[in-house]
Every structure is written in C-alpha cells, then in structure tokens.
C-alpha cells in the first residue's frame, strides 16, 4: 500500500516536471515536416533523360498493386516504342505502399515526398496520365530503358544497345 502510494507520488512528480519540457508537436501547416527523398507519397510517371515517356505499359505495376488502383492500356507508337494510351491511378484507393515502384522494370513509376493531395470532390482523386507525367527523370537520372533493352525501335536496331552483342544468325552455322 505504502509502496504503491510512493510510486504514484513519484509518477505525479515526473509528470509535473514535464511542465518545463518543450512540446514535441510539429505545428504542421506553418511548420513543414522533413520528408526523406524516398518518402512514399504522390505517385508520378517520369521521363527518360531524352525526354520520352519511360512507361512501356507492361502492366506489372497494375498487377503488383494490392488495392488495384492502377489501370492502363498499352499502345505502340510509329517508331516502335510502347506507351500507355491511358494511365489512371485512383488515389482514393492507393495505400502508398510502393509496390508499383518496385515492380516497374523501367523506373517509370515513382513515389515522391508529397502527401498534400486532399480534394473536396472524390472524383478529383482519380489522376489521369497528364496529371501523373512529370518532365524530369525522378530518382534515376541516367536510366533509359530502350538504350539497354534488346528491343528494336526506330534508330536503334537489334544489337545496338549498350552491352549488347550483335545477334547471331542461327541459320548459318558455317565454321
């Protein structure tokens, strides 16, 4: 009884000492919190260093997405590059898990340190490609998928990619 009373008094004293400690609160709208570069916030679609869309519409992000908030359709440009004819992310469903970023083979889809995306109208939470696409390269500055991939497009034939050897003609096995 006396022991527990002493413990309670000690608790009271400890709490009373907190009258003189600073509040931990971050006064948010005036005082912006620091967000790390790898913070998982609003999703963007990046461009490669040459300014073309990185996304090849492979659908891996849509498959990886645990809440099925990504929808897209593949199309082919005249120069042979794949691109999404539409790319839609429903941010009212998105849980900012970053699975899409991890699944993406071309580093096109990336999460950014921005979380201030409140809307009064729920339909405004659905972002289309023109809302998602940014001008820069995001976190990976030098990567260009078509420069390293074996796929042939206009101006880059098979065997022209970085570290790619010229294709072997399997029908002529002459020594």
């Amino acid at each position: 009884m006396l022991n527990s009373l002493g413990s309670q008094l000690k608790t009271l004293w400890t709490i009373l000492q907190h009258s003189f400690t600073r509040a931990e609160t971050v006064q948010y709208p005036e005082q912006q919190p620091y967000l790390a570069p790898r913070y998982r916030g609003r999703i963007v679609l990046t461009r490669d260093p040459d300014g073309d869309e990185r996304c090849v519409a492979c659908n891996l992000c849509a498959v990886a997405c645990p809440v099925d908030c990504i929808a897209l359709q593949q199309g082919t440009r005249e120069d042979g590059r794949w691109y999404p004819t539409f790319f839609r992310i429903n941010f009212s469903r998105c849980v900012m898990c970053g699975m899409c970023e991890e699944a993406c083979p071309t580093t096109a889809i990336q999460l950014t340190p921005d979380f201030e995306m409140c809307e009064y109208n729920r339909n405004n939470m659905v972002y289309e490609k023109e809302h998602l696409l940014i001008d820069g390269t995001g976190k990976y500055h030098d990567y260009n998928f078509y420069r390293v991939a074996g796929m042939a497009i206009d101006g880059k034939d098979k065997g022209d990619a970085v570290n790619e050897s010229v294709p072997v003609d399997v029908k002529s096995l002459l020594p």
């Binding site: 309670q8 608790t11 709490i15 009373l16 907190h18 009258s19 400690t21 600073r22 509040a23």
Partner: protein, 319 residues
Amino acid sequence: MGELSQVLFPLLLLVGAVAAAAVLTWFERRLLGIWQDRYGPNRLGPFGVLQVASDMLKLLTKDDWVPPFSDRVVFVFAPTTIVVAMLLGFAVVPFSPDLYIIDLNIGVLFFLSMTSLAVYSVLLGGLASNNKYALLGGLRSAAQMVSYEVFMGLSLMGVVMLTGSFSMRDIVLAQTDLWFCVPQCLGLYVFLIAGVAESHRLPFDLPEAEHELTAGFHTEYGGMKFAMFMLGEYLGLILISCMIVTLFFGGWLGPWLPPVVWFTLKVFICICFFVLLRAAIPRPRYDQLMSLGWKYMLPLTLVNLVLTGAIALYMAEGF
C-alpha cells in the same frame, strides 16, 4: 447582504459557474497538453480559448436524437439531474466572509447529499440508454458509489468534530490558526480520493472508461444532452475543489490579498492538481477500486475518526 445582492449574487454565481466549467474544458486540455509534451487546442483565438465557443456551437447544432430503444423519460431526465445537483451544491460554498448564498447549519451534509444525487444521473443515464456499454457503465457507477460514498462522508466527520459545526462558514473560521490539512491530513487524503471518484474523473472514471466502454454511460448521448453530462462533470470538479479548499485549506483565509482572490487562487491550484492526477495516474479496475475503498480507505477513515475524537476530547477536558 442587501435585497438586490440576494437575487443578483446567485444569478451571478450560476452564470459564473457554468462559464467557468465551459472554460475549464479548454483549460484542462491545454494543461494536459503541457504535461504530455504537446500543445492542446491552440488555434482558435488567443491561446485557443475560442475552442470553447466552437465546441459549444457544434454541440448546440447537433441533432437532438433520442434512441428509439431507450427509456425515453429517464433518458432525457438523467443529464439534467447532474447539472442541477452540482449547481445546488454551490449554494453552501462560502466564497468570502460575506459572499455566499446560504449558510446552512447542515452545510456539509447538504453538499454530500447533492453530490450523491449527481451519481444517480450517471446510473440512470446508463440504465435508460438500453445499450450494453451504457449498462456496464451504469453498473460500474453503482459499484463505485457503494465503495466510496461511505468513507467520503466519514472522512469529513473529523473536520466537523474539530469545528463542532456542520456550517461551512464556521468550518472556515475554525481554521484561522491552523488549516485543517495539517491535523486532518488523513481525512484530506481520503476525501481527495473520494472526491475524484465522486466527480467521475480519471483515474476513477470507470463508468465512462473511454478505452473499454467506448463512452460508458453516455454512449448513446449526443448534442446538448451530452454537453449537460460534461457540464455536470466539470461543475463537479469545481465543486469538489471548492469543498477541499473550504474544508481543509482555510477557504478564503490568507494574508494581504482580498478573501475572494485567495479562495479563487486556492480552487485554481486544486483544479490543476486534479488535472495532474488525470495526466499521471492510470485507471484501476473497478474491483480494485472497491477493495481499495473497503479494505484500506474505510479503516483509515475510522482510525482518523477515533484519533481525532480522542485528541479533541483531550484538548477539551484533559485526562
């Protein structure tokens, strides 16, 4: 007191007490914030004091809903009881030598009866809601009531014994030489604990117990009816603080400053202490509260009573 002040003072006290209770909701949140290393409501107005107004506006404009499965009459009646009982309790508080509504010769008993009435509000509110959480809250309130009401009354008998009167004014005047918190420290300790339990505040807010019973007895209450419960709770807090100051800390007595200022200052410190209790002490289970009441507090009160009686007799008559 003159005729006018006979009418004016109670009116002023009524408005003042309700306003103080309203401001206290904000003050408590700020104070809790300071002790928990955060700010509390600090956005609206200077230091966030307008939070009170916005809270009230919100509560006033809420839908005044009575659940169809409840006992309608009792459900509506219950929240008013606590406010009325607590406000009536203020009638016997002497704020200064000549600033009081009535100097009853049974002042202490009147106060005890009024605070006991307030418990029925919680009990009835819980039962009338016809909701499992509310029922559990009501049950706990009943269990709590039987465990502390006994020693709450008895703990004040030491003070009454030393004064020889139930009148609040006489009790304050009897403390001119020495405040009763010194000779009646046991009584003060017991009354403090009983007072926290009486006003249903943390650590003894078992009937409400947010974390276990959602909101306990007022789960089904909303809008102004909920506000009445809150008002009653904060009025109870002020009333208990007034009582502790009057009975144990010499009421309005004090040097230099005018009596009312002394009284207010002491009540303020007392309220701060209650908030500190809320910030620091966790809530016990209600069987723990009951065993604390019956096994420790009641014997302690009885010992205090016997000792006080013996000493009072010795002082009066010698051996």
